[in-house]
């Protein structure tokens, strides 16, 4: 790391207070440089967990923007605040008992508030993952669970959509339900897996595995080095 004197400094505002930080940091590392030690609002630091939802505005702009602190470069003149928690309600369900064949209304039943969607698209605009949030809410309303699951697949459950929604929809929980239904009921199942599980039940590989467990390092090396690599999947 170069000495900080060599670095160009920028100014950011953390909950209104001004700090000077070096250029080239993320919002998260800029706050740390300024002296904040995270307990909340910091998780994986890699864009996968949704802990670091950040609301910000740029100097001279009236618009509120939203993004992840760990995946966004800190810029001169940013006014920042982070969201530590989203108090969203979630519908409970028993995955084994969702009967989607006889009930095409599963989504609406669990999340009736989706009927209040006014198609304002604020959820989509708020999403740091660029997911078409409103489109999957609409797909859920139509009972198109497959589409809702696919559209929402990249959701990191940060909750920014739900915080902004004028209809109080809890999009990310709704999407989770859609994906589980697709994984469980809509996608066709693997017959190869079924066969292997059956073979294992019958103890097909037990003897060979035992043999490997008992092999000396020399014997293992020999078998290992003689492995043939599968060329194509």
């Amino acid at each position: 790391m170069a000495e900080e004197e060599d670095k160009k400094m920028i100014e950011i505002y953390v909950m209104g207070r001004r700090y000077k930080v070096p250029e080239g940091l993320t919002i998260m590392t800029a706050l740390e440089y300024a002296g904040y030690k995270y307990v909340r609002s910091c998780g994986c630091r890699g864009g996968f967990c949704g802990a670091c939802s950040t609301v910000f505005r740029k100097e001279g702009d009236y618009k509120l923007m939203m993004d992840l602190a760990c995946q966004t470069a800190a810029e001169d003149g940013m006014f920042l605040v982070q969201l530590p928690f989203v108090p969203a309600v979630r519908a409970e369900f028993e995955i084994d008992e969702l009967n989607i064949e006889e009930n095409d209304n599963v989504m609406l039943e669990h999340y009736p508030e989706i009927a209040r969607c006014v198609s304002c698209n604020t959820c989509t605009k708020s999403c740091p993952q660029d997911i078409k949030v409103m489109d999957y809410v609409q797909a859920s309303l139509r009972g198109d669970i497959d589409r809702a699951a696919k559209l929402s697949f990249d959701c990191i459950q940060c909750g920014l959509c739900s915080i902004r929604c004028p209809a109080d929809i809890k999009h990310y929980h709704l999407a989770q339900l859609a994906r589980r239904i697709k994984g469980r009921y809509i996608d066709p199942k693997s017959s190869e897996l079924e066969k292997m599980v059956q073979e294992l039940k019958e103890g097909k590989y037990d003897e060979e595995l035992e043999k490997l467990c008992d092999m000396s390092e020399e014997e293992l090396k020999k078998v290992y080095d003689e492995r043939k690599f599968q060329k194509e999947g």
């Binding site: 740390e32 307990v39 998780g43 995955i95 996608d187 199942k189 693997s190 292997m196 060979e208 492995r227």
Partner: protein, 551 residues
């Protein structure tokens, strides 16, 4: 074209582009055993003796550990036993699970299947439920379920990759349970990538001789973790967030009987009494061993190793650390973040500054990492970034070149998004990579049923050792936390059913450990567990007033 690269880097990219077509058909020969050993000896950080410290106290006295970990192990606890009143039990449960990542959540679900009432379980976790390395795993999960494959081949790949140091009974459990785990995932509704007939789309990983890697885009860990958490919520498992365990509690016989938690926001402590305690705290990437950047989540600070070691659980294979071959090396904001191995599984190649392919893209992780370090620091054929970081190119556009346009965007959406945020289009331009501290290969010693040598304590996931020996293969960690999380949940449930509540809770093991430290003449000043890493600016810390403000 993306404009995220400075001009001089773009010149090097042109060389990569110039050789792309020719490289596309090269099947670079895998290293012979002698060459890979030599590359490891000379370039892998693990093989630098000065990075290790011989432990002076505890159950693994005499063994080597990274200095950064040894310093924490050979330190006193952050708590003073004389300040704690253990007679007031705040949570009285059958099973306490320390850690709310993959292993802990799986353990809870299987303990319930084994007959434990969800209300009698407590998951205590340092950050939020799900904040873990499990959430970040991108590439996939191994399970041998194809005609051409079997758990036997899976076993062989893993033990060779692990340099024959894996604990055989654990590896057998890992590979044999794998298909059943995927079956369980199907029932939970995990959205794996499948073809039109429902068969899984599987890829090879570094060191695997078969196409065995199941994935869900490059969000595999996230998809698993989302569903596991969702199911845990459906079942009503109580979770205490921002409440890490700071020490285990023992009974008069030295058996584990719960843990002491700390509320990270109020600093209040809570006493948990439990018949069974499962350690599932994950790994130690945030210790930044040998000053490497890390791909790990914020809470990966080795807490479970420290707590487990103090009650007497030996550690194994702590001398080996996994550096993932491809961490991001540019731009500065993403240094150390993971670039999934799946980029290479799909056909991407590591290429030097002159556009030359210098290693088979799918060597086991330690060999691949050592080869990249060799290219940068042995052969001086890396690319140096404006801030002095060295790296090699990972030719991601080659994937589209081989597999057709749109493949990268479709199969690696998380990676594409990460780079897009910083004006780099990895579907058109290669990305710069260098090894990053990724995984704790070793850990607490366990048996195949996830029990530890101390009664009442169980362990699963990255905190435990033996499954992967001294080098883990891609796709075996998601599998690990499922297989051993499940076994831990079942074993802990059985143990709870046949056990009485611990009569008296103590911290006697800490006094014993402190005495051992004193006798060994060790006086360290960094009490542990660490809980959270320190990233605040130097200037701020120098001016930091240690004052308690009371209202």
């Amino acid at each position: 074209m993306s404009d995220g690269y400075p001009e001089y880097m773009r010149k090097s990219i042109e060389k990569v582009e110039a050789t792309r077509e020719k490289r596309a058909s090269i099947d670079f020969e895998r290293m012979k055993p002698e060459e890979s050993q030599e590359t490891l000896d000379n370039f892998h950080p693990d093989y630098r003796k000065e990075g290790k410290h011989e432990l002076k106290v505890g159950p693994s006295k005499g063994e080597l550990a990274p200095i950064e970990l040894a310093e924490l192990l050979e330190s006193p606890s952050i708590i003073d036993p004389s300040e704690i009143d253990l007679s007031q039990v705040d949570y009285d449960v059958e099973i306490l699970i320390v850690g709310g990542g993959g292993a802990g959540t799986v353990a809870a679900l299987w303990a319930i299947k084994e007959g434990i009432d969800p209300k009698d379980i407590l998951i205590a976790t340092k950050l939020r439920h799900g904040d873990s390395n499990s959430m970040m795993a991108q590439g996939g999960i191994q399970a041998a379920d194809k005609e051409v494959d079997s758990p036997v081949t899976h076993y062989l790949d893993a033990i060779g990759g692990g340099h024959y140091t894996n604990q055989p009974d654990l590896l057998k459990a890992l590979t044999r349970d794998a298909p059943e785990i995927i079956k369980w995932h199907e029932k939970l509704g995990i959205m794996y990538d499948r073809d039109e007939n429902g068969e899984f789309v599987e890829l090879p990983g570094g060191g695997t001789s078969r196409y065995r890697l199941h994935s869900a885009g490059d969000y595999t860990g996230m998809e698993l973790m989302r569903v596991l958490m969702d199911e845990s919520r459906n079942k009503g498992v109580p979770v205490l967030e921002f409440a890490p365990a700071v020490e285990l509690l023992t009974d008069e016989k030295g058996n584990v009987g719960g843990a002491l938690l700390m509320n990270l926001e109020t600093n209040e402590y809570y006493v948990v009494r439990a018949k069974s305690t499962i350690m599932a705290t994950g790994g130690f990437g945030r210790l930044h061993v040998q000053s490497y950047p890390t791909s790990n989540h914020y809470g990966a600070t080795a807490d479970g190793l420290i707590m487990g070691y103090r009650v007497g659980i030996p550690l194994r294979d702590m001398d080996s650390v996994q550096y993932h071959p491809t961490g991001a090396a540019f731009p500065d904001q993403v240094i150390g973040l993971l670039v999934t191995e799946k980029v290479r599984s799909l056909g991407g190649q590591p290429v030097n500054a002159d556009g030359e392919l210098f290693v088979n893209p799918l060597e086991p992780r330690d060999v691949e990492a050592a080869a990249i370090i060799r290219e940068c620091y042995g052969k001086e054929k890396g690319i140096t970034t404006p801030t002095g970081m060295r790296g090699v190119w990972l030719d991601s556009p080659l994937i589209d070149f081989k597999e057709g346009e749109g493949t990268v965007a479709k199969r690696l959406p998380a990676m594409v998004r990460q780079y897009e945020r910083f004006n780099i289009d990895m579907t058109k331009d290669p990305i710069l990579v260098f090894p990053t501290l990724h995984y704790q290969n070793g850990g607490l010693v366990i048996n195949a049923d996830s029990s530890t040598p101390v009664d009442g304590l169980f362990a699963a996931g990255e905190v435990s050792g033996g499954v992967h020996g001294k080098n883990r293969l891609m796709g075996n960690s998601l599998l690990d936390f499922n297989v051993f999380g499940r076994r831990a949940g079942i074993t802990a449930a059985k143990h709870a059913r046949r056990s009485q509540k611990p009569s008296k809770l103590t911290l006697d093991h800490l006094s014993k450990y402190n005495k051992e430290l004193k006798d060994a003449g060790i006086e360290r000043k960094n009490p542990s567990p660490m809980l959270l890493p320190e990233y605040r600016g130097k200037r701020v810390l120098e001016r930091h007033l240690d004052v308690q403000v009371t209202l």
